[in-house]
């Protein structure tokens, strides 16, 4: 990546087990790769914030743990419930944050909107200005979502971009790109695919991948 200023250090190879020194105020995981300037900056700012009492080490630990708990499985549960319960689907579209609460899912304080695909309509999300994303329901966004290539091109040539994901949208289907540049976050409720009749919610949730809720993929039923 960028200016890592620590190349050339010759560290001893052994496993020193040198844990004798005094405990540090904050001891997160040891980084695997080379230590970069930005890693140092991150650690330094964190420690200053703790020393100044802006937040406590325990606050940070809890927040890390909480963020770790955010993943696409949460959004997938909402989609699977919406597929099996039309009244819930309506509530999810009306107020996703409140509907998520019904399933004991915390969607956070930022308003999230569910965009329902239907025959003749397919939704895709992007943030061309930065990379706004429904983190509370899908976890961190993938690298490609934040990339110049996706952000630049998906608004102007969405069908070509989707084709790069192996997703073909029929010409007769309206493609709607949602540029979430302001105060709301979006995720897609894809259409329930054929061949899933009678499936349990748990089984349905398994085919609702992260990319399905971004709109760059469609749920697939494995053919035997």
């Amino acid at each position: 990546m960028s200016e890592s200023k620590d190349h050339g250090h010759d560290h001893p190879h052994g496993h020193g087990h040198g844990h004798g020194h005094a405990p540090h105020p904050f001891q997160p995981d040891i980084e695997d790769g080379p230590i970069t300037e930005h890693m140092v900056l991150t650690r330094a700012v964190t420690e200053l914030m703790i020393e100044k009492g802006v937040f406590a080490a325990e606050d940070l630990r809890q927040k890390l743990e909480y963020m770790q708990s955010r993943n696409p499985g949460l959004g997938a549960r909402l989609v699977a419930r919406a597929w099996t319960d039309p009244a819930f689907a309506a509530r999810l579209i009306e107020d996703a944050n409140a509907a998520a609460k019904e399933l004991d899912i915390d969607a956070g304080v930022v308003e999230i909107r569910a965009l329902a695909d239907r025959p003749g309509l397919h939704n895709v999300i992007v943030c061309t200005l930065c990379s706004c994303y429904p983190v509370m329901l899908l976890g961190n966004s993938p690298d490609w979502y934040k990339s110049r290539e996706y952000r630049s091109r998906v608004v102007r040539e969405p069908r070509a971009v989707l084709a790069e994901f192996g997703t073909e949208i029929p010409e007769g289907t309206e493609l709607r790109i949602h540029d979430s540049t302001a105060e709301l976050r979006y995720f897609v409720i894809p259409e329930r695919p054929a061949g899933t009749e009678g499936w349990s919610e748990e089984r349905l949730a398994e085919i609702v991948t992260r990319d399905c809720m971004i709109g760059t993929a469609l749920p697939k039923v494995a053919t035997e």
Binding site: V155, P158, R159, R176, I177, H178, D179, T181
Partner: protein, 108 residues
Amino acid sequence: MTAAPASTDHTPRFAPGDRVRVRAAFPPGHIRTPYFVRGREGRVESLAAIHPNPEGRAYGGDGAPKRPVYRIAFRQADLWEGYAGPPGDTTVVDIFEHWLEPAEGDAR
């Protein structure tokens, strides 16, 4: 630039279905209105929210007064010359009210 826009009272100026044009303005600084829709015409889908202005909050201000944010739908064909897909494809962008004006011919 013109003086501060209306809507200091939070009353939305536009309604769903209205044709609007995004102001072709290019001030320096932090802006949440994408370049590719400035000067373009679209249709108000819905009022998305009433929110503090990020153009103020980005510089330590409180973003008051809060402003309506609309979901504006643009036809791809109106945004991109020679758009390769079907004419019905759209892009929807959330836009703060002070970036919008009635489209010409849309009496209001």
